[in-house]
Symmetry: D2
Subunit: 344 residues, 4 copies
């Protein structure tokens, strides 16, 4: 069996695991104040060019979204996002649990647009009853989106400009940011992310770490009491070293680029294979998630040897299926898929 | 420098790290439904004798307390605990964040007693205004306590009897349970824990895992929707394997006993050293945390070579200091301490 | 100026105010345990025919929804409602503030249908990732809806049947229920409401009271600790008498019917006037809210003498406007409107 | 039966009820934007001398505390108060429900002192683990306290000075403020309240209104989105007029003074009667709550004709009982008590 189910099917990238092993018996203080956390922080800051962001390491993605969003909103505010956003669908109401409404906008291929955000904000403030409604207090985007698509620099800048005009922050969920950064289609660097957002996170879990996400506040704008809120929401690891060492390793040398590039290259090969076999795309993307259309029968056959997820039910017994590559995707898996598609 | 600061200064026990390394490239489903989680669950269930508990793996201790407590309480209820309980002091208000009041009772050496709990509950329900007050809806204990002390079987049973009489659950925070289980002074087995509680957790972080806690519902009493609440509070790891593999390893063979016993043996040696040098105890305990009284000057000298925590400020420039041992405590550290105390 | 802005523009119905005055100096216990609350409760129970519901009096509608919904849901559940539901739009996120997601379904004229609810529930439980999503844990309807429309007995029964099939409660927001009950188009009695729901409230504020809503649990199904949750959410009046006396008065004799009927009769007259002047309806309803289409210019002219609300912006400089009648609507206002429309 | 049970046993002061009656059929906008609310606001502002505070009218006291406190705290902060504070005991966990810990300090006769607050704050920030604890983010006092006692100008100023030194707000619960203002022992005017606090509320419910509390932000420091948070927590009345008209009436002419003075004068007479009969005081106070010590037998006899509350169980079958006077206390009740005590 070969798995294209997601980008967190394996443990850690071998280099990262090795770093954990090498440092294993070093005695370090807990809760993220060890020197590896500091060094990882510095490396990330360096990767952000002229910005000198503040960086925090949290244990997981749902937590990270909940902590960052609830620490940047006031109780009367909610968060604008795509209707397909992870926070709107697959985080079990984590944001509502913090007391804040999620305000979904219609989305296309996982994305929302600056005009749509602007129009929502204008309508809200024009509404004479808006004081009886949840105020939009932040915009949340995913880069890449849950559909593998990318915001361009100009798209993200337009949205950020709207945010600034309405004095609300822009926050980017970068669970798979590493794959965006290595996509040839991408024109937003980490430095640009600092320019265009008020906060974002660099996902570790999907980038070859056992766990961990790095929250970046680019403009000396860490919310007061942030550390305490991280602790309060259970997002602080006692062995903070686990996060520090892994991110230090990820940002040392070429590892981050290698990991991202491997995932993107594998995705390109995967796309070629689907094209070669004339498998229609539901959505062909520039990152590490690809969506193809298969009949249920085809899917059943394929799933004898491959793991992948059903994404959407279409008409005529057809469905959209998602295939994900990662740092760990083996050429062998893609070759096997090619071979198997011959028989389909 | 030798650290007695806590029991989470190192990474993972080498056997556990090895298990992570060996399984690293195996492709597994996420979110805790992999076979290692299942096997770890089974091993823990077996360790519980005649009980067949349900087991869940969560990422960290603060989360675990927040998830379990908020999933077992109704909105009008709070949780009774010792005034020194971790949830009352050092979890940054994580329980209040879920909407529930923490109801601290006066404690002695970290413990509360059945009569004190009973008296609180009786007074509450006798109070004609109790419908305007937070209802005590659960009792929380730590075993061992934050002060290293242990509840005996008979003490815990008395408290559990009170809980049953008032129809509220008893929940045990076992962040350091592994050290309780190996203490010669302990008379409560895992099977007894199942008998005497409605829920408890077996701490992994302080027992040689990188992270992770195992929640045990002993009586087919998992709250409805528990998995979703784990996800909602951000306590579910995407790479659930990280928890499954580590707990599987911990409960395989003798590892759990070895880890606990090493910590307890080290604590006994440490106590001997303090006794030998006539260092007075603030609290001498049967587990892996020891509290001694030193002058600030002595402490300053000691901290040139040893790491340990100030626990409480006492009179006459004296303070109580905590020394913690663990699976990782080296004899060399204790010998060095012995030698250094000669010079004090 | 004549106001058709809403059904809470005046103080209290004179009979209700008189009851408050008459009893004013009687010394009564606080917090809803006075004999008027008891008697009001009994009168409401009697009005529910063969059911013997439990009744609670709360201060306002937003609170009532928040208290009832949050007391009947578990933390992992949300509430299904129409996209136009009051809780989804105009309660400032009160439900999310209690930690629960609002799950809006597409609606027509303010209503959702049994098939739509059923399809949502089926899709949810069919979704293999549903444990990572907010569980639908209740259905919320308004009767009449925010658009003045009514659910028929058979429509409500179909929805209730779906709820029972999925073991989730049905809750009805009856802020304007009194006007539904007196509408000739209505075929759901209070007794039917008891049959077809798990909880509902009878609005007082829009029915001629200064304030107050009566929550009805028809099936001995009051959530445990309900009183304490009412207090906790600030929905309990210290002078509970204010609610008891008013509801006692409302349900004594014919007052409730008179109040409802006056509002409905006024609405019929209002509709006739609009028809006479060929003002097109955006939505003509069987209750006390009517929606007509006017050009902005017409609306501006009308608003020199009449108060009413813009409801929706339409095309070609036209808008939908809402006109509301109530127990207090004076024939004079309708005659004046008739006269004014001649000049438009 | 004569009731000394509390200061909310009757409806409204006749003048206030009359104001409600007179204005009853006036058509007014809802939600607190009517001209009575505006005028009441202006009158209160005028009563605050050189300050020009912003005033909001909320429905009840528990709500008011929850809304004000949660709107002024950040998620990582809690509120310091006396261990006997209403928010710590009798509001059913309303503050914790908003996610914030209540941080009780030991109190004497209902009061806490500036040194005690200062020492708590200093210890907190000295604690090296304070980032893992709930930050004290506000001080809450009651004036008068739940025990009828008063803070002097100098006491309140000292506490306010500590608050300012630590950059946290001081908030005063004035549920019975009207009785403090008329006490001969009081030296804090409304103007002083503006000087010495960041927010306070003037209780209406216990001052002869049917319901309602006036929140005062003295220093142009209304939290952003306050109105929306009032709505969100269900503390906004649809018929805002009910609050506006009553407070307008209360602050017109001498009514507020008359009401307060009547309560205080009645308390003085009550104290004389107890002194005359040598009934020992548990606490003799300068406001409208008096606490005496009676045997249970005496109390049982007295309760044949008088209503009053048991406050605390003392030794030797004695208890402390609370007797409350108000604007409505009749001389006849006090004469009857005098007469009855002769027979005790």
């Amino acid at each position: 069996m070969y798995s294209f189910a997601n980008d967190y099917s394996e443990g850690a990238h071998p280099d990262i695991l090795e770093a954990l092993c090498k440092t294993n018996l070093e005695q370090l203080p807990g809760y993220g104040v060890d020197h590896y956390c500091q060094q990882a922080s510095d490396l990330i800051a360096n990767a952000c060019g002229k910005y000198h962001p503040t960086v925090y390491f949290l244990a997981g993605g749902t937590q990270t979204n909940a902590v960052v969003i609830s620490s940047m909103l006031r109780p009367y505010q909610g968060v604008i996002c795509a209707s397909t956003a992870h926070i709107a669908v697959h985080e079990a109401g984590a944001i509502e649990w913090t007391g804040h409404k999620v305000l979904p906008l219609p989305s296309t291929e996982g994305k929302i647009s600056a005009p749509s955000v602007q129009s929502y904000l204008e309508s809200f403030f024009d509404d004479p009853t808006h004081e009886h409604m949840v105020w939009p207090g932040m915009v949340y985007l995913s880069q890449p989106t849950e559909y593998g698509t990318l915001y361009s620099y100009s798209e993200m800048k337009s949205i950020y400009d709207v945010c600034r005009a309405f004095h609300i922050p822009l926050y980017i969920d970068g669970a798979r940011l590493i794959y965006a950064l290595e996509s040839p289609a991408n024109d937003i660097s980490l430095e640009d992310m600092c320019e265009l957002t008020d906060a974002f996170y660099i996902g570790g879990t999907k980038a070859g770490l056992l766990c961990g996400e790095a929250v970046v506040f680019p403009k000396k704008n860490t919310p007061a009491g942030f550390i305490t809120m991280v602790k309060q929401k259970g997002a602080m690891m006692a062995k903070g070293r686990v996060l520090g060492i892994q991110f230090y390793s990820l940002f040392s040398g070429q590892l981050m680029h290698d990991i991202g590039k491997h995932g993107i290259d594998a995705a390109e090969k995967l796309k070629s294979v689907f094209h070669k076999h004339c498998i229609p795309f539901f959505l062909e993307t520039p990152t590490n998630q690809q969506f193809v259309v298969l009949s249920r029968k085809q899917a059943a056959r394929l799933s004898e040897q491959f793991v992948f997820e059903r994404w959407e039910v279409l008409e005529n017994d057809m469905c959209a299926y998602r295939f994900v590559t990662s740092w760990a995707t083996d050429d062998e898996a893609i070759i096997a898929l090619d071979r198997f598609l011959n028989t389909l």
